[in-house]
Symmetry: D2
Subunit: 373 residues, 4 copies
């Protein structure tokens, strides 16, 4: 079997999740290629140790060398957001497939340049909006496609966490605009917007509200000093869709008790559905066509044979976890590349999301609705 050589730049939290997907994908999916964890790339000294721990054959500290390496087929960009554009563009220009962590870039301009590069070079491009690959989300998409939700009236989504609630939490890179662009907005609303696109379709305009509750935090390296937090702690928006549906999104890192609460509700003319990432193996489905005395939200345990990815892992009722979303996503990337089709999702999806992210920011500043297109 042919080998697909991956090089991954970045080895933080996302790097760990991506590495796991590469190690595991051939164990559960029947693929025409064998993934090889060729090179892990990182700036710090720890990259060798990480490479060993995560199962990579080589470690490298200069990302340009990785991109130039003719053995490599795919460049995985898992660095902080401000590095996505230069790396992805260079990789595309070097003839590599590029799989990039979300959000695509820190700014709309960056995202546009990345789409331009992959379009110009013909590079295969994928984006790690891994929640598309949650079985319950795929089931919801199937239900929508099949007309079981009907005409969608409402999309309602929150992505709530609480990890920076304490004022003593340090001013890490994720709280600095120069590295991350925005805070909860780009990190969490990017997921919600991508899912809005995936499930409901295009947006026309937004009204946004962003808020930083704690503006000074201790520096990681010297807690006796503080630094400015110049990104949002929370960001909300009202949404209008092309279809006539309306919606709302909210991202926060200040919701005590919510750890990874990506919760989405869709209401349509024939039914409704609710998804909650903290119970990611379940989809709640309301079916208006059920017997009139037996209607209600059905808690579907999405682990059975008839479900998306059914039979890939364990028997019915034996749940999967967060990491499996990446395995599913990578399997889809590989299958698409083998068929010569666009990856799903890809840089175009990322650009579309970036436009909405930026529209929310502009709306927040202009205090008025802003078109997303």
């Amino acid at each position: 079997m042919r080998t697909l050589n991956i090089a991954q730049i970045g080895h933080g939290f996302m790097g760990k999740a991506h590495s796991n997907a590469y190690r595991q994908v051939n164990r559960f999916f029947d693929l025409p290629v064998q993934v090889h964890l060729h090179t892990l790339c990182g700036r710090s000294e720890g990259v060798e140790e990480s490479a060993r721990q995560l199962g990579w054959t080589h470690a490298e500290r200069d990302w340009r060398k990785v991109i130039e390496n003719p053995e490599i087929d795919v460049i995985d960009v898992s660095t902080p957001g401000h590095l996505h554009a230069p790396m992805a563009i260079a990789a595309a220009e070097a003839g590599k497939a590029v799989w990039c962590e979300k959000p695509l870039g820190n700014t709309l301009a960056e995202a546009e340049s990345m789409v331009e590069a992959v379009t110009r070079t013909g590079a295969a491009h994928g984006l790690f909006h891994n929640y598309r690959a949650v079985p319950a989300i795929q089931l919801l998409r199937r239900m929508i496609d099949d007309g079981r939700i009907g005409q969608i009236y409402h999309f309602r989504a929150v992505y709530l966490q609480d990890w920076i609630l304490s004022p003593s939490f340090p001013r890490v890179w994720r709280l600095q605009k120069s590295q991350t662009g925005t805070g909860a907005h780009g990190d969490l609303n990017a997921h919600l917007i991508d899912l809005a696109h995936f499930l409901v379709g295009g947006l026309t305009e937004v009204s946004g509200l962003m808020r930083t509750f704690i503006t000074e935090r201790p520096l990681p390296d010297d807690p006796s000093k503080t630094g400015e937090v110049d990104v949002d702690d929370a960001a909300l928006a009202l949404l209008r869709f092309e279809s006539g549906a309306i919606g709302s999104i909210e991202a926060s890192r200040f919701a005590a008790g919510r750890k990874n609460y990506n919760c989405i509700e869709v209401n349509g003319s024939k039914g409704s559905a609710v998804f909650n990432l903290e119970r990611m193996n379940e989809l709640q489905f309301f079916d208006r066509t059920a017997a009139d005395d037996a209607q209600g939200f059905t808690v579907i345990n999405v682990t059975d044979q008839p479900h998306p990815y059914g039979g890939t892992y364990w028997p019915s009722g034996h749940i999967i976890g967060y990491e499996h979303t990446f395995i599913n996503l990578v399997a889809g990337f590989i299958q698409a590349m083998e068929r010569g089709e666009p990856l799903n999702p890809n840089f175009n999806d990322g650009l579309r999301t970036q436009r909405v992210l930026e529209a929310v920011e502009r709306s927040h500043e202009s205090r008025a609705w802003v078109a997303t297109v």
Copy 2:
């Protein structure tokens, strides 16, 4: 409109719930008679005050006078269990309808004498197994009758409370065999057995286990002294049904955090259902005939027009409470009496339950299975 004069003996917790039902039943149900709260009867001085508070026209301290009063149509027996038999039998012999709190008696012999009396006298007789009148339980019964559950394999029920968990809780009358017969068993398992009969059908044999965790408690009137607890704190049984189904019941007053947790599950060849009294407006229903990718437990909010008692109270989604089960039950009693039909449930149901209660006790003592018939 004709008046139905009620006299109620007993004005504790159950008396309060029954009184409320009498006051409210004509407000929500369209009945051919007008219920009148004629006389409240109790041994203590407080009965006059209770009568005023609960809306009764008269108060009386001698229960025999109440039974002799020709104005009274219905005698409601809401006293501790050891008084049920003498009062109910006297009432039947005086030509009254008798509505009795459960369990029917403290012993099988008492229950048999009560059934004998109402049979001999032709008195109308009803039993306050109010949980039959929960809309969700009625819905479940409808589903079973309609074949939507299929052949029932399993009945699984617990009724858990925690109000005597503290060793300092006093030795009240409900903890004395002379007054109450048994503890959690007669109080709580009586409900579960009645629902087993109502939903699944007759039993053939049981294996029981009873347990008293705290055997000495402070006396209510003098906490410096203690008295023996000679009834069970918890009682469990395995069940065999005539139909071939199997099951289990458990009653406990030692289940920390469970306040009124009457939770019942039925599994059949076509579906399953779960009921929890703490969320009594809901029924969970699993339908094996649903689309194969949309199966799961559906949380039905049983407050809509198509549901049992639909439209009686408030619009869909506006829930009812514990007290409404008594209103529903009393409405049914009155409708049955007007039609000249047996009340549902009645003393025969109570006797059947008593047989099972006693079989569990005997099994506990013999350490072997005991037939219930």
Copy 3:
């Protein structure tokens, strides 16, 4: 005991709920006055039958006569919104206490005139924002007052229903601007805004979005013809609070499967809480001060002695229903009147809510943020 004579104008859904509260309040609360259901007033012929059914002594079809009746102490205004102002003002001027259904008026001008009238006349005034009287909401307020939630960052509330989802549902009065002012907005967001005020405090500005999904519906009297729906089916708003908190509200009658889903979440620096009216006996509470390995949302069954209204109805775990919120509210109205204190909530609260409702409408039209003060 002194009698408090009530006259209620209106006998639809709300009239039924209010009547029940008047019948029941003395049964469960120890009050210094005895409530008397003196007169029920309605325009239609059915009012006599309703009066009998609901327990009123008299029936009357001319509301002005009721207001002039010197026997009456309290006028309950339970009519459609456009009649609130003339009736309430007349009642106040006639020296009556006025208890008014929400929203206070259909417009800000009406609401202002009502407040002016009660202020000028010194009439006692109460507003039926009954959800303040849900035990779980009172518990949440207690927790906030006690500092157990800490500084509030987020208020997040939806009130979702689905009763007009079908295009064949007729164009009833609740869908006509001339009678009701707005649709889901005034009906449902009024509750959310009142609770936002009650729990978090004053607002400073809003960004609103209103939407009518189905603009023509069959006429109730002649389904072969259609009439225009000129009120919103759904209304959303982003909120800024005086305290620095941010929030959102959403009202919809197009959320399939949501029957009476008034769901509120508050996130603070010390904890969070979630309330859902469909499970109104429960409050979910997250306590950041709990042991670090035992934190999570605690489902509190708010029916125990230590809870608000504890001991008023039934033992712990025996739930109450929708109607009890009105009993609680009316008990509070009476207690406040007896003490000569302002009722809670009252017309001032209604006016404050009206200002926000109208700000959302103006924001929807101006497509920009609008101040609420």
Copy 4:
């Protein structure tokens, strides 16, 4: 780093889960040895393909050759139950560590011979009761050890599935006594009994009930013929513990809608806890020492740093799945072997469970309580 060579006999469902654990354990745990998937052994031709798919270096069809191979350190016995004893005993006698799938044997005699062999030879022995390694179960154990549950009164557990509910489901090996010993009982109750031991302690006696609902099923290879099902479809038991606690267990494969519903409740003098394997990342905990108006079941998302296995996988709120229980268990096995300590759980635990399993069978036959010791 030293290598630990594993050979696994059996490559069905359990083989897949074990293989995954061996591949992954070094990626998430910091261990002193590197696990090597040396040899996969199976009788069928498919073993080579399985070995490739699951990541094993070698494949072998004769299990005796595997046991004789001096390179192998650990023999993993993942075959049907009737093969456990001969393989495990041979492995122990060959000086290997033996890790065996549960239940230990098909009969008490087999289990005893296995314990005898590992005791005699000094072989390290582990048993795949993987649910001990669920973080939520470990947390519950910690709570019990810390006295946060107090004196345990009740243990209540069900393990419900529905995969053989259809009469057309074939008579597979798991339904044949000769291969599997018992049905749901050994498969599912074995887990519950092991958890009872782990959480509450030793049992003294049981009363059992076993039932086969469908006694003839189509043969897998020729559905036109049927074969006898001679194992139980469901098995229940009442339990008495040495501590004075009482309990119940139930295993069924006929509970429609329950896919992998291993649900356990423990009630003690200070608190309660509920675990449900279908939501295995959660533990519900009731704390009687919480503020008296804030008590209830807390849904703990057991994925945070302070929790058992905290920090091993993903950030808080990012859940793990079924397979991680095996990774955790294997990590524990390796750590114990390195420290020269008994593995947890091990063959002694398996023997203890087997005694209870067999006592339930005998009780079912004798229709009376049977001692477990």
